[in-house]
Subunit: 346 residues, 4 copies
């Protein structure tokens, strides 16, 4: 039994961690921290957890959390994870950070897009980007994992096989992504109100969303050259789910069957990533609440482009589920432990 803590437990990602870990046979969650809800039971803040956790939310210092735990999940706004992670490393507590602080190999990329100085570039360089389908072995050995962003997870999994095998021209990649509202967190703000989101779709962060450099860092690594993408996120009237629809020009002639084989090979044996049969395009509700990523693709002979669509649950494979997947790898547990459930559908 591993003793784990969640720092920032009362956001949606924190609650999803508690939900998933409640069925993990090898974890004992021993600390839930929260400023806003300190003193309340977690099950009072999230009544769906009634009977699945007896823990209170506490306003603990990092030091207090690290005293109790062997692994900490950090679910804080960007900028707050670095000191906690650094101290954890010193104390031998393993870290899975669900924020952006440690995702960039180059601190200056972070600084450019997040508009704040990076507190510890060395630590960032040391952290492993926690996308198991790409970095599984590194994750197994990691002391500090930077859990990927939700959009990047859906995009990288969708494009990796094509980029790696050189089938597409990296200069032509366009990503049109759509996310449910839980991605905006539980903060009380007008733009997340039911009435503002319902019966609506809108683009946001056009040509400037902070997930762009994270996507580009990883796609560049896969392509072996610098990749710049057009990335446009949209807000959808759903609670959970991300669909990324991606377009690129084929770098060489290829049939759809050939590309399908590339995906089959790339993801052979992967427990969570599924290329769907021809014509069955991903629906986000098929992965609702699960750690799965569903992908499909088509070659458009008329335009010489390939279209790829990839669906995940932003809170699960896009955040807490992937964090537990990384946790399992770091601890030597079966990778699917606590995660082997189908999407809740219908």
């Amino acid at each position: 039994m591993i003793k784990a803590g969640i720092i920032g437990a009362t956001g949606y990602t924190g609650a999803e961690l508690v939900r998933i870990l409640s069925r993990h046979p090898q974890v004992e969650v021993v600390a839930l921290t929260s400023r806003s809800y300190a003193g309340e039971d977690m099950a009072a803040v999230y009544p769906a957890l009634t009977g699945y956790t007896n823990l209170p939310c506490e306003d603990l210092t990092p030091e207090e959390v690290l005293e109790r735990t062997e692994v900490v999940f950090i679910a804080l706004p960007h900028g707050h994870a670095v000191p906690v992670a650094a101290r954890a490393l010193e104390k031998g507590v393993r870290v899975i950070d669900l924020g952006a602080d440690l995702r960039f190999r180059e601190a200056k990329t972070y600084e450019e897009w997040y508009k704040v100085p990076h507190a510890n570039p060395e630590l960032a360089a040391h952290a492993v980007y926690g996308l198991p389908e790409i970095y599984r072995e590194a994750v197994r050995r990691a002391r500090v994992v930077a859990n990927p962003g939700c959009y990047p997870t859906s995009v990288i999994l969708g494009l990796a096989p094509l980029l790696k095998a050189g089938y597409i021209d990296p200069a032509t990649i366009i990503i049109d992504a759509k996310s449910g509202v839980s991605g905006a967190g539980r903060e009380a703000k007008v733009t997340s109100l039911f009435v503002e989101c319902n019966e609506n779709i809108n683009p946001y962060g056009v040509a400037g969303h902070r997930h762009t450099p994270e996507i580009e860092q990883e796609l560049s690594a896969l392509a072996g050259m610098e990749v710049k993408v057009s990335f446009t996120p949209h807000l959808l009237p759903i609670s959970r789910g991300i669909l990324s629809t991606m377009y690129a020009t084929l770098a060489r002639t290829a049939t759809e069957a050939e590309l399908r084989q590339v995906y089959q090979d790339f993801y052979a044996g992967e427990p969570f990533v599924h290329l769907l049969p021809p014509g069955r395009w991903p629906h986000t509700r098929w992965v609702y609440g699960s750690n799965n990523c569903y992908i499909n693709l088509a070659v458009d002979g008329r335009t010489g482009r390939v279209v790829v669509a990839s669906a995940i649950d932003n809170l699960t494979k896009g955040a807490a589920g992937q964090a537990v997947q990384n946790f399992n790898l770091m601890c030597g547990f079966p990778e699917t432990m606590a995660l082997a459930t189908p999407g809740l559908c219908p």
Copy 2:
């Protein structure tokens, strides 16, 4: 390992059974029947099940199903379960029927409300009404279980403690219930279309819904006298969930605290039924995808009435989850096996 079959597997209830049973360590599902989708893989009909079932949908005769199985779940429209159940009984295959055919002790009640003759009144009299919180011991010994309707489950669990203890006047019960659209099944009909249900609520079946006599049968048994209720269902723009709000005049003076104790005692040790703390009224999303039932109540001193609200997921505790709960009891497994998960929330 018990070999189980699902007759009528491609409706929403059937799919929910497959989802739940996919994580049941003591069940092997060996037959899924469907007319509409015969020959297709279940995972093609419900792609969320990709990786969790390899079974095809087959257009099997009951006899063929019974050959393969030790337990059958029947998820057919009313009127079709009786011959299957009768034959199963002869062959020693245990039956859990999720339809209405076997829920009534008096066949004439069924005939009056469902407007068809009952094919086998004797069998109906023999079946156990599968609400474990009321009939647990009988379910354990049952060969044929009539799984309760979704609305009746929410209503009976909400009112049982008060009726049993004689706190309310049975002549004054009013039930205002609200259900998600999955309760209408997967049949292609205009009234279930997205555009017809979205941004809407409407009453239906006013003063004539078929769950009325089922509710009355069970409330009468609890009250020890004939009970007639006003029952009005409403259609909500949600996929899953039932909320029943219930009103009754107190038969004798009682404080809220006193009534809360009655519920605590009645449901002491129940794994799925939770009385929430004062003021925390049930939200259906808190039980989303779970087998839980959340209840709360208030005494209104101004009117001398008690108000009770009860929330379940209509496909889980209101159908497939409760069926698996009954299955566990019938087979001697722990009652919560495959069902011990919190609601998917947020």
Copy 3:
């Protein structure tokens, strides 16, 4: 052309007033006040109004607004309207207050339920309760109109004919009401977030909602005796719409046809209130964005009760539309001016 101002223009009710008045041929809106959005154009705050208003939001004093206007609509939180209304009365500016401050004939009822002292009981006694179907002639002559609450509008219109004609026992009235989220206003709070409201229904304010005394005041006046009701509101995942389902025991035997005739007579000639044909129960989306109220009823012979359902759009007939209806009456315009549009459906 009447010069009108809206005090508190950037809440949902204020925006709905601007929308409706934008098509009113006899009104010139000359002032929109807002603290939060002072200096911004109204069309920047509500881009749907682009091309329909050029006004900025201004942080004006009441005095400044009254200088410019002949009529003011007040859409402020309770407690803030009284001084504005009093001053308007002195200056000869007519007032339509959409809040609760002036709805109660007895200031002590207000004080008891709103937990604040009433600033001007005399003014409240002077104001006309602006439900035109009941108080049309008084509204025509009014200088100050207290626009009814959204729930009370749906309830009073639904029960008035029966109470007035003495068909139901006033001691048995139970009201189960359901509202869209816009009723909670545009304030940024966690309970109004998309993720908290979506795929959900929950009761709130059980046995204590502030619309209860308003309902009781008006039902008592109709019944000619003191009426106390059980009133339970629920929050629905829709933007607009209220459905009230109401139950009462018949005070004397009556057929449904007889009761239907009572409604037909009561609402004969009413432009906005429609009794639907037998069996066609109101859907809130049928009145979406319109000033209509749709009603239906059934007599339940088994229980001796009548069930009535009434649907309105909470922002239109439940607030801004009714305010314009009152405005039309006060100014001598045709009552339906700017309001004669069907619900936006599908």
Copy 4:
């Protein structure tokens, strides 16, 4: 007063026509045809129209409709409009066809994508493509108007200024479009059920949707060269609304300000098309129920691309509203008659 008929009145587009025409002061609707609902009142099929139409749905022959009318709106599935339109032309009845039959200048394009022979290529060549912002003068003189598809309307309005002025490379256009479910019509089919669409987004018709050639025909005309596009539609859990997000590589260096000016000039004086201010990206709910089209754009200096987003209501500007706009032009009425209403928002 023009006598008008609607052939195929009970689909969503037909109902929207009735809704809009109910407030048109120069139209008398005299015929509503329907097979499925013949004999029922239109207000029974769409109760939101109660009080706004007294017409029954009739199973009339085209000849019978043409006898009564001066203009007919045809809202039938593709393949059925041609004979009606041809006969109308002979009888001097003007035609606005909301289907695809007459949208293509080349019948063989139609035949290739719709997989059926075209019944009257000459008539198709004769029809005017009814996008007033591009073909206003031709529409004024037209006897037969082919009302554009919903997706093409949003796309063409979004890209026309850039293509016309030669700012983008036509070979690089990628269109990622998202539509509400009403676009799928009122047909009872599983894929349009609430439970199948709710909490979901999915692509469909990838690299093969029938609106592709219609988009290409019009973009080619604007560009003065053959244009092929990647067009991917998606299904959204909203009733109404289309958002098209479009990407293209700049053909020459241009600032965002320069491009904004191009749009301002192109749409100067247009009553329905609005370029929003910088950074205010279109939300579909802002045009809900209105005939407006909201557009915004950004230049992405990093990639050399321009991103354009365009929002309409698919039933209004994307179908019935645009049809009435064309009707107004054909009849010499003010173009905005019956259409000058803001979006219903909140």
